[in-house]
Amino acid sequence: MRTRTLIRLAVLASVAGFATAAFAASADDYKAAAAKADAAIKQAHALKNEWTTTGAAMKAAKAAADAGKFDEAVKHAQEAEALANGSIAQAKEQEKLWPDAVVR
């Protein structure tokens, strides 16, 4: 009985914790997420390999932040960072792989 109660409390606590983390982002959280995304975007730009979807995600992040919706803004900024990192990985991978596609 005692164990079951403890488990219930732990589940409640974790759900509450998740909810806090997911829905209570602050302006600082957004700034941190945006800074990480900007750094990745800068790197993708230097490689001349940006994706259009990255810019769209960053635009959505800024719009959400301007509207005070920081949870949404963080989500979009993280998406932009992931997309920028995808384009960086693609550029680096293709540096080695493109010769395999050449017609011979």
Partner: protein, 281 residues
């Protein structure tokens, strides 16, 4: 003495190595042959010169539509505008013709060229803007309208002439060709497509409603009237659209990468007739 000689030879060999490696990376003549064979083997019934007609060479239905459209070509207005622009003197009295061999008539097939002075590939579009700037005029936008009209007229004066692109004996020219080849075969954009994904691996196949054109001769029809644009567009405009279609951020018009890929593809099209200006769906 012998030791000094050996050291000197080793140094010379070491210095030459990167150059030899770069040359080894590209063999334009062999690649031209392989590229040509790939397309002629894949489409054995297609006349070689027909490749320049892009999707119309791949699809009978589209070809019929094109023949009907070409009774009143939608690019005609661009040729007329380009002709008038070409003949109109700059403020200093000179004309475009003064910047080109043969007064600019029937020379489109010789572009792009490698310019030894700048060490860069010069496309017809860049040569036209250089001409404007050398004569005190503002350069045109590289993607549409005025530039498309000028290149449409110049292409028209070269219709039927075989593409004739040279790679001079200059390691920088070979490097530009190699960079163009690299750009062509490199996957990019969120959809992870290279130019070759569509135009080497899938010519004749559909992407949504579009029939993909073969890469062989793809530059010969430039500039084009594209129905999807509702107007004329240059090579840069077409390349930028390709980038966007695979969700990649396009480069500025006539950026080095675009000029190099045009150099590579035009060399691959050597001997095929200029068909520009063209129409595309």
């Amino acid at each position: 003495m012998l030791r000094k000689l050996l050291i000197a030879l080793a140094m010379v060999a070491g210095a030459a190595q990167p150059l030899l490696a770069a040359e080894g990376a590209s063999d334009p003549k062999a690649e031209f042959k392989a590229f040509r064979s790939y397309f002629t083997n894949r489409f054995p019934k297609l006349a070689l010169d027909d490749f320049v007609n892009g999707p119309y060479s791949m699809d009978e239905g589209l070809r019929k539509q094109w023949k009907a459209i070409d009774e009143f070509p939608p690019y005609d207005f661009a040729i007329d505008k380009g002709k008038a622009m070409f003949a109109t003197p700059f403020k200093n009295g000179k004309t475009y013709g003064d910047c080109f061999p043969n007064k600019g008539i029937g020379v489109r097939q010789n572009y792009p060229q490698f310019d030894a002075k700048s060490g860069q590939v010069i496309t017809l579009d860049v040569a036209l803007n250089r001409c404007r700037e050398a004569n005190g005029e503002q350069p045109f936008d590289y993607t549409k309208d005025d530039m498309a009209a000028l290149t449409a007229y110049m292409a028209f004066t070269s219709r039927g002439k075989p593409m004739d692109i040279t790679i001079p004996d200059d390691p920088r020219a070979l490097a530009a060709y190699t960079k163009g080849k690299e750009y062509f075969y490199t996957r990019r954009g969120q959809l992870n497509f290279s130019c070759a994904s569509c135009h080497v691996q899938n010519p004749g196949n559909h992407i949504r409603t579009e029939v993909l054109a073969p890469a062989l001769g793809i530059m010969n029809a430039m500039p084009i009237y594209r129905s999807a644009w509702g107007g004329m567009g240059t090579t840069s405009r077409r390349l930028r659209t390709c980038n966007s279609q695979v969700r990649g951020v396009p480069l500025p018009g006539e950026s080095e990468e675009y000029r190099d890929v045009e150099y590579y593809l035009s060399y691959m099209a050597n001997g095929l007739p200029i068909s520009g200006p063209g129409t595309r769906p």
